[in-house]
Subunit: 207 residues, 4 copies
Amino acid sequence: MARQARTEAERENRMRAIRKAALDIFSAKGFSAARLDDVAAAAGVAKGTIYLYFASKEDLLEAIVTTTIGATLAEVEQAVVASPAPAGQLLRLVVQAIAAGIQDPERRRVLHLVLSEGARFPAIGDFYHREIIAHGLRLVRAIAAKGHASGEFVSDEIERFPQLVFAPALLAIIWSVIFERIEPLDAHALLEAHLDLLTRALTRRPA
Amino acid sequence: MARQARTEAERENRMRAIRKAALDIFSAKGFSAARLDDVAAAAGVAKGTIYLYFASKEDLLEAIVTTTIGATLAEVEQAVVASPAPAGQLLRLVVQAIAAGIQDPERRRVLHLVLSEGARFPAIGDFYHREIIAHGLRLVRAIAAKGHASGEFVSDEIERFPQLVFAPALLAIIWSVIFERIEPLDAHALLEAHLDLLTRALTRRPA
Amino acid sequence: MARQARTEAERENRMRAIRKAALDIFSAKGFSAARLDDVAAAAGVAKGTIYLYFASKEDLLEAIVTTTIGATLAEVEQAVVASPAPAGQLLRLVVQAIAAGIQDPERRRVLHLVLSEGARFPAIGDFYHREIIAHGLRLVRAIAAKGHASGEFVSDEIERFPQLVFAPALLAIIWSVIFERIEPLDAHALLEAHLDLLTRALTRRPA
Amino acid sequence: MARQARTEAERENRMRAIRKAALDIFSAKGFSAARLDDVAAAAGVAKGTIYLYFASKEDLLEAIVTTTIGATLAEVEQAVVASPAPAGQLLRLVVQAIAAGIQDPERRRVLHLVLSEGARFPAIGDFYHREIIAHGLRLVRAIAAKGHASGEFVSDEIERFPQLVFAPALLAIIWSVIFERIEPLDAHALLEAHLDLLTRALTRRPA
DNA sequence: CATGAATGAGCGTTCATTCAT
DNA sequence: TATGAATGAACGCTCATTCAT
């Protein structure tokens, strides 16, 4: 029998362990095909124990997604809001934050889960849009508006479609899960190149 | 002979109907959660009939993916190979072909299936990489090389990372499946903006 | 694999076999404690087959009850309605019909199921009251009224409480299931005695 | 000593509370379907505590039955044994004791438990027969014999089948659990009518 | 003693696959 | 070839029982 979790901290540890195990199994097999037996085994608990912490398999999936929010963007948001730096530099901060964010394999797996299962579980799509996507888009739009207003940016594409800033990161995540073993991709360098292109396309060049 | 031909045509029709139905169901529920009962019902055949045409549920999934290859890129590939047009224009052709390719909801569903299930079914990942991805990357690389050699393109980012050309399309597909209902996205305009940015960044022509 | 039931008659046979097996198991273990594995084994089918015929375990229980209605009382009802015989004799017919009805061990088991599980499954209580109880009470009341009107019966107890006519049968059923092995009870003789008492009490003829 | 006594009293209180709660839950859901979680909650103790007082769920069921013996019949037995009263009057006492006994809803629930689960748990059947049934039958037989011997009773039906005296009470219990909500039944009046019939059938009438 | 977290066997139900017709 | 009844392994979830605290 696993040590009983009587304090709140122990409880939280136990939940984390189960979520971690579930993420591994869900990522490997897909949510539907994953078996809670395997999750339990991976977490080192009995099957029934999972239900002491999560109401259902689906609830466990949602817990995985909702507890793995990157603080990354939030920090950047803070830093950017009142920064006097030029827009180009702020954009660089954002892309670098994204790059850092998808460095962690665990977070990458969570993101892939969102992409794979989000369509079937509206709660996940809603949550992710509300907590992550919306913030990211707002942030990019703010920077784009600033750059546009100051004359630093020559066009408004990323103001209209801030998603363009994040698209390569999305591709990197998917690539790492599906095609990495066939043709490796240096996600970091990819985002560097992306940033270079973005910067060159947006910022006014010296005469 | 005629009888054989008629039978063969009927066979093909039947397979198509099953694949079509399966795509609908798989997309709606996810591969694992989808039930062949529903597929059979949607295809208007008995459950056992499916097994006369496909060896297993997984085989059916692979058949869906492998038979829905866009001829689009192949055509473009033909057109581009010996074209005397400037690289920027060729790139435009490619992005427009991509835009056209993801216009069709059916193909979008197939692509989402690849993204969702590709990780679990190497055959799908392999196939998709070999038949679609590799072609696309090679095509973009060829254009990039041409543009670079002629001095039309000032940098080599998309030669090193041709994936950057496709990333927004990928995002559009995923967005349409997960976030469309929350926040609509005009995929066509998105790709237009993407092309503008890309062209400007690569050619660095005066604003 | 059990022979496929393609005709309606075969289907009905299969259903009957499953119901029969379920009755055996439910009676032996109680509805809740009974396992469908055992039912399937007893019926000679695979577990999944049960679900081709019954929507759920509970549905199977209801099917057992609703398909084992004694035609007995119905026949008596017919016979009694327009009979010119004295009420005492009609009452005798009813009690004898009851006696015959609980002779069959299978029907006795069904009745015990109703008594044991009826409290938890209102549908069963409703059905049984509507299809069996109500008929029986109405029948007895009609006889009692007739006897009373003609002066044959000197009192109205069984008109007010027709249940009194059936009570010993109920006891016999329960006794046979719980106490028979400890102290046997001759249900037939019990009902005979009951009828004697009843007749004497109602007609008050000299000893 | 005092400490021991207090502890013992507390122990008994605790057991009573658990039995009471268990009776409620077992009655509502049936023994098998009842959950000890609910019993514990209803008793205001932790689930594990139940096992400090009862060896198992089944043991708890048996405890409920064996501790809820009506003192009623025992009292009557005492009163009847050496009474000079006529048999008819003694019979009246017995039936009234029965009526009083099933007035209490708690005892009615216990009786229904015995009827529902007695078939599956021989210990319960045995106990109930030994402690309740046998006494009741012996008592009625004694009265019947007395009445017969004295010439007060004209026949021996209830000597041969003393169960007939109790049958309506059994029916009343079952009715209250299953059919009451559909068609109410006045148990007290039912037993009154039963007694009237019995008395009229048995006792010699004045010339 | 009391608690309630943990266990793990168990069960109702599902569904991909098979096969008799 | 097509059907759909039958199969039986599998899985999510439950809950009586145990045991560390």
